[in-house]
């Protein structure tokens, strides 16, 4: 084996190690609130969230939870108003989705929808976060939901109007039935 080939092989091995490390980081994202889709949590019964007093929790026996990202968060919208009529098929879809009652929406999906709608419309709503209590308390102590905040101009509120475009793919379910929604609203969109 020549010296140059040794160098090439060594470089390749380092790159493989870095790639595997990145892959491990991807699979560790649930513990940082970063991902649920496609990080090997399938059929794992792993749960996580925030308590009403702001503590991160999960049901893992060993690993702690540290919510670095907010991409996991679902929010409930109220009093959604969009100025003007939808201009095309894409906007009609976004109108319908963001105004549909009885759904909790992933905050990143809301940001994407708001960002697109705000190109031609003013969007206003109030919202509250859907915090998840530890599942052990789920059955016994139904937590008090957060109260809705004041109505906001979503187009100028970066917390709900600016998508994280550096994230290339969907990381969480975009929406799901609200826990308080009547059964008739619980279907998929």
């Amino acid at each position: 084996m020549t010296a140059s080939s040794t160098t090439g092989e060594r470089a390749a091995r380092v790159a493989i190690g870095v790639w595997a490390l990145l892959w491990a980081c991807n699979d560790a994202l649930p513990y940082f609130g970063g991902r649920d889709d496609s990080c090997q949590t399938m059929f794992s019964s792993l749960e996580w969230g925030l308590t009403p007093d702001g503590r991160s929790w999960n049901n893992h026996l060993v690993l702690p939870q540290l919510m670095v990202f907010d991409a996991w968060l679902n929010i409930e919208l109220r009093d959604v108003s969009i100025e003007g009529e939808p201009r095309d098929r894409r906007e009609r879809a976004l109108y319908r989705w963001i105004q549909r009652p009885g759904r909790d929406r992933n905050i990143e999906a809301v940001r994407v929808a708001v960002d697109r709608l705000c190109e031609h419309h003013a969007v206003r709503f109030s919202f509250r976060r859907e915090l998840m209590p530890p599942s052990a308390e789920w059955e016994t102590t139904r937590w008090t939901p957060e109260s809705f905040g004041p109505e906001i101009d979503a187009c100028h509120d970066p917390s709900v109007g600016s998508p994280r475009w550096w994230v290339p793919v969907r990381l969480f379910e975009t929406d799901m039935p609200s826990p308080d929604a009547p059964i008739s609203d619980a279907g998929s969109p």
Partner: protein, 366 residues
Amino acid sequence: MSSIPLAGARLDPRLRLVMLFLVPGFIGHTIQLTAEDVPWDHGAWERYWWTPGWHLFVDPWVVVAIAVMLGLAVIGMGGTAAWDAPCRRVIEPRSARLWAMGVIVLYAAHYLTYPFRIRNHMSHMLASTGVIGIAWLLLAVREGRLDPRRADRLAMDGVALITCVTYFFAGLHKLNASFTNIAVDAEGNSIVGSSAVDGLRTFFLYGDLGTHPPAWLRYVAAWGTIVIETCVPVIAWRVRRLRFLAVSILCAFHVPHVAVMDVADYPMIASSFYPALFSRAEARIYAPYFRPSRWNVLGAAVGVAIQVWFIPWWGRLTIFGIFVLAFWGWSLASIAHAIASRRARRGKADAGRGRGATAVSSKPSG
């Protein structure tokens, strides 16, 4: 890249098997995505617009075009890998490595523009095919040539590592209070939604094995899953003597997923990368035994019988599931045949040497 020569160009037998096995893996991928996301459905077109991701930067037809080109590249990779013709250069139409590079690049594009849910198998596939591309690319760039033997060996080491990391995290996530809680209600369902308990009960129900799996078996299902996923792939990769047993355990572990959960795509794709857990020498020895024999026909028949026995309903992946279990039965029986044949030959050789030694010792001296 076209000027980069290939010195001796046949594929590493493990890589060749990975390329061949990925063809049905992609079929499973396609069935699952088209069946669940139904891209031609009106609702899917609407979801496209509020799902976060880079697909929003391209027109929908680009997403479709990437997927179609990926399908063509997979067909090309499968065909050239089956043929495995010797090539002098990387860029030759009959070079399986060229088609594989096409698959790797297009798969990354497919992943980054997929407008709906990214499945576990998709990230696993991205990581595994990506590591092959990284190994080849770095060697080619640093050395100005691609020594296939070393390039493929590095690629297979990388795939084995990715496989171990993937399974490890799948097991690690399950080490939680819900998954390991085996308590059930009167009907036998988990009271905390443990996938292990509910999955085992489903397996029992559809297999006519009863309605209430015993407590000890629920323990085995929960903790056995964690132990298998965190440890067995590493054992398969690093412990030669236990390799076949470990790979058999991995396949058996996935049988319920195929048989009663209608998710045959993931197990097929995961098993497509199992050849990387073997050594090059083992793959060379085992490969000829994959030709039809009584062993592997029987193995495939057992696989089909298991799936037919457990079919819960005719799901979208049921027929594919029959293929997957037949394929595993065929493959494991072929390897078992190879091991048994070698042992038999070694036994005969030992016996021959023993007779020779006896003959020598019984020779009258002087």
